[in-house]
Each structure stands twice: as C-alpha cells, then as structure tokens.
C-alpha cells in the first residue's frame, strides 16, 4: 500500500481549518488512511491501492474537507488559447498524451515535495514505472506557444541537471535517468518542442534544463504521456484535480491529426444504488437522508428518489464499479468502529478435511513411536533434491536465491538436510513430518500430502523402520505389502516399495552411503515416506 508523507502546516493550509495532529489522527480512518505516525513536521500515512487520488497532500486535504463539511468540489477549469499540435509521428512511439496549465501557484518547498511524491507514487504504483503513463511538470513562462508533441530521429537539447546540449541518443546513454528509462524508447524519440524549436522534454525520460521549475515559478505547465490511453487520461485528471487545490487550471487544446480535444477531460459520471441493498449488505438501518449525509462526507453528491440514490461520482474517483462500492463509502464515513458487531448465526457442523484428519492420525502414531515432528519449507534447492533423487520436481522461474529454486517432490531430502544440520547432537535422531509436496509429470502439477520419518543412528537398520511402518499401517487401518525396490536414494537390496491396494503408496529403506556423503552425514539413516492421498 502506498506510503504518503505530508507536512502538517501544508496540509492544514490546504484544508483551510485549524485541526490538531490529534484531530487529524482521529479523521484518518474515516478517509481510508492508516495513521503511521508523526516525524517532526511530517505526517506519515498509508493509503490504499484503489485510491490514487490520495497519494498527495492535496488529495488528502480534499478528503478531510469533505469529511469535516467544508466545500471541496473541484473548481471549474478555464478556457485558454494554449494549443499543442500532436504530430502523427508520435502516435507510433508514445501515442497518448494530455496537457494542462496551472496559474497563480505559490511555490513552496512543501509543494515541490508533493509534486515529486505524486510523480513517484503515480509512476510506480499506477503507471507501470512510466510505461503506461508519465508526468512532466514545467515552468510555463520559459517557453513559447503553440507547442508540438512529435517524434524525431534525432534532436538536441540540454537535459535537466546537465550543462551542455546533448543528442537524444546521448541523453539515453549518458544520463542516469536516460539509462533507467531507455528501454521505454524503442524507435524515434518522442519530444515536446515549443514554437521556437526548443525542447520541453523527452518523455518519459527527462525534461529540459531550461524549462525546469524554480523558486520564482508562479505558473506551471503539465503533461502526461504514455502507452495506455485510459491511464494517461486518469492520471491527467487526478493531477489536475490535485493541482486545482494550488492554483487555477487552464485547458490546453490538443490538435490530433484527425480530431481535437480540450485537455484535461474530467468525466461526469453518476451511478445509482439502492438504500435497501446498502443496508442489507452492511446490516444497517440508514435512511436515504442519512445515506446522503454520509456520502457527502466522502465527497459524493447524492439525491434520493424513494429507495434509489442517484450518486454523482467526483472526477478524481475511478474506483467505483458497483453499488457495493457506494455501500463501503457510507460504512467508512460512518466509521467501522461505530457499528455494533453482530454474531453470524449459521448453524453448521464443523468437519476436518479427510486428508488433514489422516495426517493428524499419522502424526499421533509417529509421536507415539518417539519421533520428533519437524517443519520444513516446501520450497527447496535443486541441489538438495538432486542429492537425494526422488520423483520429478518443478522448478521456479524466478527464484530469489539458490536455496529456494525448486518445489520439493518428497520429504526425505529435506529431512536428510535437517539431520545433517543436527549431526553435532547426541544420537539417535528420530524425525518426521506430514506436509504437502508437489509432483509433476511435466504437463501438470499435483499437490500431495506425504508423511515421512527418518532415523539417524550408528545402529539404524531397515528392520527398525520396518517396525515403524508396520505399526503405523496397522494404526491407520491399511493392509500393505513390501516389494523390493530400485531407488537411487536407497541401498540396493535394502529398499522396499510400499504397496497398498495394488498401488505404490510409498518407499522405505536404508539411505545409500553416497547420498549420506552428499549430505555430509556420518551415521546410517533409514527413512520411510508414504503418500497419504493413497491411504484415504
């Protein structure tokens, strides 16, 4: 979940009401924020993935204003003469874009921090690290209109933070940001160029040094471009709504080869919800009037007509898909902790899963036989699984380390590894485990429940484990036979396949000395492994 940091005084300035830290902490749960604490002037909050409008002080301030009943609607945007020509060349390189202008801002360090935070969170959490969409912010008064969004084979400009002009190719190879995002520029270079041919930016990589925002900036130009049209449009709307808390928003007319739009486009959406359905889902008895009041606290204008609520969705909210989402807005505004919990009364009889029950019975028998239960990871290293060969196993495509790069197909290798880790302790060692394993035939994978027991002792023999197997099978009520087995992990002639109902249900035997050597075990080990699915 996104972590957001806001300055206390900045937030209070944006809210426009004197609230204490304690007040803010109290409001946080009702605006779907987790209070993470205060560090100096910084308030740390955790917001949720469904609410990209909440990754900035501006969005949080608006939510607080809604909740405490202060005006919080998005002000109307202004018409303007700003024009951007979108050249068809860029439609193949980075096709979607939206732009707008913000005038009359007061540039503070807090605002700069918020601009950086919004860009970082939006890029990482919602825009596939600049592939789907990326944001650029510029000083409006450093370039000349109209501007062009186009793609070029090569061009020169001074990138942000550099002192000299570079070719686009140089920008991608010689600057840090260039190297980070070069993979997003496959063909020609997308560029925003002003009337005089000066570059504003090479999206999504770097802006130009000349158009950067400074301490004297009072008017901003913003662009959002990317490969996902829907995300570009949403991000532009979210950003414009957020910055409307700081200044006046002006449209930019974007002229595409075949159409023209006023950017940014704010959606005008409304939805309906049934008060009865809301109350049924929550278990509440809110009147339509109460519902309207609670929705207002969440920033929604609503009207009631009988049981039906007509709800206007604010332009910065993209997370509503179904009336249940309206119900949650009402529940959050009311406060989860204000509800009196009820006990669900569904009379049922509890039943253990047959395989879990059988596992428990096998475990009881083995504990009784003096074995210590152990718990090991299902993920395993290929090295261990190959050192004690067993059924074919599945490998991970993206392991983090060589210790966990495969899925165990039986328990014995894990237990040999376990015994090796304890070889400094006095013998005998008797361990067992009843847990899941995954086998594969190369086409499909199958999760199975195995039980395995091992004895490590200077005098450990087949016969000792044979007795364990025999009493275990008696106690689990299963007839079995042993037939001589050939198995790479066990000593030839001292290995048996456990047959139940004519099917192979497990294996028992003395571990082969070459396997013991591979695990650096110095005493004989005798092991038993059964598939409990076969014993049901």
């Amino acid at each position: 979940m996104p972590n957001v940091t806001v300055k206390y005084y900045d937030l209070i300035g944006l809210v426009g009401k004197d609230l204490s830290i304690r007040d803010l902490e109290g409001i946080a749960p009702n605006i779907k924020c987790e209070w993470e604490g205060v560090d100096g002037e910084d308030i740390k909050l955790e917001t949720t993935h469904d609410r990209p409008d909440m990754v900035s002080a501006e969005g949080i301030a608006r939510a607080i204003r809604n909740y405490v009943g202060l005006p919080a609607d998005i002000p109307a945007f202004h018409k303007s003469d700003y024009v951007c020509d979108v050249d068809k060349s860029v439609l193949e390189e980075r096709p979607y874009s939206r732009m707008f202008v913000v005038k009359g801002i007061k540039l503070t360090s807090a605002l700069i921090e918020q601009l950086m935070q919004v860009q970082e969170k939006i890029h990482l959490v919602y825009a596939n690290d600049r592939k789907d969409a990326s944001i650029g912010v510029y000083d409006l008064d450093t370039f000349a209109w109209p501007i062009t969004y186009c793609a070029k084979e090569e061009y020169k400009f001074t990138p942000l933070g550099e002192e000299r002009e570079m070719t686009c190719r140089e920008v991608l190879t010689k600057t840090e940001k260039g190297r980070d995002y070069a993979h997003l520029v496959k063909g020609r270079y997308p560029l925003i160029i002003d009337k005089n041919g000066r570059v504003l930016s090479l999206p999504p990589v770097l802006n130009s040094e000349e158009t950067k925002v400074t301490g004297t900036t009072t008017n901003l130009f913003c662009d959002v471009s990317g490969w996902d049209g829907e995300v570009v449009e949403k991000v532009a709307a979210l950003l414009a709504c957020a910055l409307s808390e700081r200044g006046e928003i002006y449209y930019v007319t974007m002229k595409y080869p075949d159409h023209t739009i006023e950017s940014p486009e704010l959606k005008k959406e409304s939805t309906t919800a049934s008060v009865m359905a809301i109350n049924k889902l929550i278990g509440s008895e809110f009147s339509p009037h109460e519902c309207i009041g609670l929705l207002a606290k969440s920033g929604f204008h609503a009207k009631a007509q009988g049981d039906s609520l007509e709800v206007v969705v604010p332009p910065y909210r993209y997370d509503l898909m179904h009336p249940v989402d309206i119900a949650e807005e009402i529940a959050i505004a009311y406060g989860y902790n204000e509800f009196k919990p009820l006990m669900p009364e569904v009379p049922t009889i509890g039943i253990r899963h047959p395989l879990e029950r059988l596992s428990e019975q096998a475990r009881e028998a083995l504990v009784g036989a003096g074995f210590q239960e152990v718990l090991t990871f299902i993920l395993c290293s290929k090295r261990i699984l190959e050192a004690a060969p067993g059924p074919p196993f599945a490998e991970l495509e993206n392991p983090v380390s060589d210790e966990y790069n495969a899925v165990r197909s039986w328990l014995v290798p894990r237990h040999l590894d376990f015994l090796a880790k304890n070889k400094h302790l006095p013998l005998p060692h008797r361990v067992f485990e009843a847990e899941d394993i995954v086998i594969t035939d190369g086409k499909e994978t199958y999760t199975r429940r195995n039980v395995s027991a091992s004895i490590c002792n200077s005098t450990a023999t087949f016969t000792e484990m044979h007795s364990v197997l025999d009493s275990l099978m008696k106690n689990l009520g299963k007839e079995y036979t042993l037939k001589p087995g050939k198995h790479d992990t066990f000593l030839r002639g001292r290995c048996g396949v456990v047959m139940v109902n004519g099917k192979e249900a497990g294996v028992i035997g003395e571990i082969h000395p070459k396997v013991l050597n591979a695990f650096e075990l110095e005493n004989p080990v005798v092991s038993l492994e059964l598939c409990l699915d076969e014993l049901l």
Partner: protein, 494 residues
C-alpha cells in the same frame, strides 16, 4: 542405613579399627581400587567418612638419566680411557664427543680424579682408585632408577647435569570415620542379604518375601532422554484448526502450485495488478501453464471485462486466458476459498483452511518466503458486514485472547466493504491479525453464488512467535532438534 550400597558397608566395617589409605582398603576389603574410590566418595558425601588427601612428591630418572645409567656417566667414560693411557683434551673430545668431554673434564677436575699437565690429562691416585669403585653420582643414579620420595632423593649429588630426572605428585587418600560414621558402625553393620535388582525369578518364586531390597539414592541427576512430540508451530496451528472446527467450520484444502486463474482472476484481481508480476510472486518454470475450468472461465472473463454481476461495469480491459493459465506458488489461501465457492455454490456453509502460502521475498529475521494463513468464508443469503465484524471480534477472542479490537478500512480487489482487524495485546499493543470483507458480486456471481459471502484471512505468525517466546521468525521452521525437544508444551507459560 538402608540406602547404603554393599561396598559402602564393607568399607565402613574395615574402618572400624582406624583410618586406612585407599591402598590399604583395597587390601583389607578385597574390593577393586575403583570400587573403593567410589564408595569412599559416596560415604564422604553422606558425611560418614572424612578423607585426608596427602600429596607426596616423587623423583625418578627420565629417559636421559636412564641413558646415563646404561651407557655410563661422561666421567666414567673418561676414566676408562685414562686407565689405558694419558690423553690430550682434544683426543678426549674426539673419542667421547665435545659435549660429554666438557662435562667429564669438569667433574674429574672437581673431584680431583685427574689433573692436566702440559695439555695432557693424567689420572690422580684417587682416580686410579675410582677405576674399581662406584662414584657417588653413579650410586645416586642407581637409587633414582626407582621412584624416590623427593625429600629422600639424592638429587644434590648429581649436580647440574641438565634434566635427567622427573618429579611427579602422588595423592594418597586416607579414609577415616566421622563421628556420624562411628555411631553407625557401633550400631553394627549387616552385610550380605540385600538385593539390587528385582528379577522375574524373585517375583515368580516368591523369594522376594525373604529378600531385602537395597534402597536407591533417588536424588541424583537423571540421564537425558529424547521424547517424540509435535512441532510447536504446528501444534498451535492444530489448536486453531480445532477451534474453527468446533465453531462449525468445514475444513478445505487446495493445491500449493496454483493457476493464476484461481489465485487471482476468480478473485477479481486485474491481470495488470502489481502482485501478478515476477517481482512479487513465484512462477513455475516447467510446466508453466495449467488448465482453466470449463464451467467458470467465461463468467470470470466477463466479470473482468464487463462486470458479469448486475450493476457492475467490471475492470474494462481485455482479459487474457493465457495469463490466467500461468502456474505460480499460491500467494494466499483465499485461492482455496475460491475453489470452495466454485465447488459448493449457493449452498449455505462455513469453510476454513490453514495452509501454506508463498511470497517472493528474501529470508531474514522478519521475512519468510513461506507462511501459514487462515482463510475462511461463510456463505449465507442473510450475511452482512456487521456480522463479519462480530465474527472477527470472535476470532480475536479465540486466537488473541482479547476483547479489544479495532477495525480499519482497507482495500482488497475482491471484497467490499473491506476491513482490517487489529487486536490489542497486553504486551505488544495493537497487532494486525488480518483482513476481511464481503466478497464482491464480481467474485461470487461468476462462481455461481447469489448469496452474500463473508471472507477473512488471518495470519498467526506474530501470535505464535509471542506464545513461543521467539524473536526470529525463521525459528517457526526451526532446524534445531535440541530446541524442538526442549521447548515447553505449555506455551502459555512461556
């Protein structure tokens, strides 16, 4: 008296007339040296005897000294040569070696057995006499061939000849009765008709009636023994399973290698969701695709693309069945709940599972790549969010033993409303127990459920660590057999 071993009684009796050394006790009792030593110590620990330990120092030739004894002292070698003829100092050195010749010359001159005239060594009269008698140093060597108590050892006569003897210590223990021991002996000691072991013969023959059984000293330390028992983490999860069963839940089970379909798509997580990436989730290399079910796939696809459930607009993207087929390590047990919904449909029911999940993470004191999670659902047309809160409160009482809970709004793609549960622990303060919510219509309706479904997922790791008193999460899967054997079964006692 009854607790005395037979050997102890024999020794007490032998000491009746006075103190004896251990060696004397061996002679007097006919017991082995070791038995005498052991029994003397037992008696001492019971306060029946005193033990005086006298340390004596002994001197004896070492290998170098024995060599001298065998080959003769350097001065003897010189005397033998001089008996034949006078020799020069150089010749003497050539014959018996420079080192020995230096020692020989020093001693011959010091004892006036020889003199030097113009570079030639000649015997004196005393020297002539010494040819047929032993030198005092030779007598001393012979005496030291056996151990001699250091005060009587003639080491001075040998003078400075380097290390030719060694000194050793010998402890002599003298055992004597204490007053308590004396009283016991005066009462008379009975030896002979006590038995150590109760044998089958004694039992069957009835001879036990005439047998006196020696009492054991039962205050000693017991030899260690390994018992078999359940793994502590699993034992606590067993308890949770029993509680849930007793609350009327039916246990479910599902595969640990899962298709994205059941892990994500049925739960309405869009295919571009960040967790559905190689960064957060483990993918299987081979086979890398599983099968999609015939009966639910189309409906789940419709849910993603256009909502499926009445009133929903869905995510509005083009759903890719190939992505849904990818095989992964299950990331949450909510996938098991999805299977259960598909299997049981609209029938009223309560289900749970406590199973393993996987996340792509490095392993350290606070992160494990595998963890247990407890997931469950209640399917019922009349279920509502307040009942879910009541259920969660009940869980906090059952699993965290607290009435103090806190609910916080949270976000999961598959539930609405969604809630996070925290419980107040007396020592740790607020701890997060898990997330819950009412399954969205886009989740339950494609799986054939019109009823409401409440769903929850709880993590027990922190509670278990607290109960077991462990700080490092890796210890939940401890590989230390000693710790597993020693950890108390009564976890609540810490």
């Amino acid at each position: 008296m009854d607790t005395l071993h037979e050997h102890e009684k024999i020794i007490l009796q032998a000491l009746e007339k006075g103190a004896l050394t251990e060696a004397e006790l061996v002679k007097a009792t006919g017991l082995q040296q070791a038995s005498v030593s052991h029994a003397s110590l037992w008696l001492y620990s019971k306060g029946l005897t005193k033990i005086d330990e006298a340390v004596t120092e002994w001197v004896e030739l070492n290998d170098e000294g024995r060599k001298y004894l065998k080959e003769g002292l350097p001065e003897r070698k010189a005397l033998k040569l001089l008996a034949k003829s006078d020799v020069s100092a150089k010749d003497l050195g050539d014959k018996i070696g420079p080192a020995e010749s230096r020692i020989a010359m020093a001693w011959l001159m010091k004892s006036r057995l020889a003199r030097v005239e113009k570079g030639v060594i000649k015997l004196t009269e005393e020297g002539e006499r010494a040819l047929n008698s032993k030198l005092p140093a030779e007598e001393a060597l012979e005496a030291l061939n056996k151990k001699v108590e250091s005060s009587k050892a003639p080491v001075g006569i040998l003078g400075k000849r380097g290390k030719i003897f060694r000194v050793s210590e010998n402890k002599v223990r003298t055992v004597m009765l204490t007053d308590k021991g004396r009283k016991l002996v005066d009462k008379g000691i009975e030896i002979g008709n006590e038995v150590n072991v109760l044998t089958p013969q004694l039992i069957k023959s009835g001879k036990w009636k005439d047998t006196k059984f020696r009492a054991y000293d039962i205050t000693g330390v017991a030899p260690p023994m390994l018992i078999g028992k359940r793994q502590p983490y699993k034992a606590l999860l067993d308890e949770a399973r029993d509680r849930l069963t007793s609350m009327g839940f039916i246990e479910m089970r599902g595969p640990v290698v899962e298709t994205e379909f059941w892990n994500f798509d049925t739960l309405y997580q869009p295919q571009n969701h960040p967790t559905r990436s190689r960064k957060d989730t483990y993918y299987i290399l081979k086979p890398n695709r599983g099968e999609l079910p015939t009966d639910h796939t189309i409906k789940v696809r419709q849910a993603h693309e256009s909502g499926f459930a009445e009133g929903s607009r869905g995510w509005g993207y083009q759903w890719n069945p190939e992505k849904a087929k990818e095989l992964i390590m299950r990331t949450h047990t909510t996938a098991v709940s999805a299977h259960a919904m598909a299997e049981h449909g609209d029938k009223k029911g309560k289900y749970f599972t406590i199973s393993r999940n996987f996340r792509r993470d490095v392993i350290d004191a606070t992160h494990l790549p595998e963890f247990y999670q407890c997931d469950g659902i209640i399917v019922d047309p009349d279920m509502n969010f307040r009942q879910l809160l009541g259920m969660l409160k009940d869980f906090a009482r059952e699993f965290a033993y607290t009435e103090e809970v806190r609910f916080r709004a949270d976000y999961f793609p598959y539930t609405e409303p969604s809630v996070e549960l925290s419980a107040k622990h007396p020592d740790l303060g607020w701890i997060e127990l898990g997330g819950a919510g009412m399954f969205r219509p886009e989740v339950r309706e494609p799986l054939g459920i019109k009823s409401e479904v409440m769903a929850w997922g709880l993590g027990f790791d922190r509670l278990v660590m607290l109960k077991l008193g462990i700080k490092d999460i890796r210890q939940l899967f401890s590989t230390d057999l000693k710790w597993l054997g020693d950890v108390s079964l009564r976890y609540e006692m810490k």
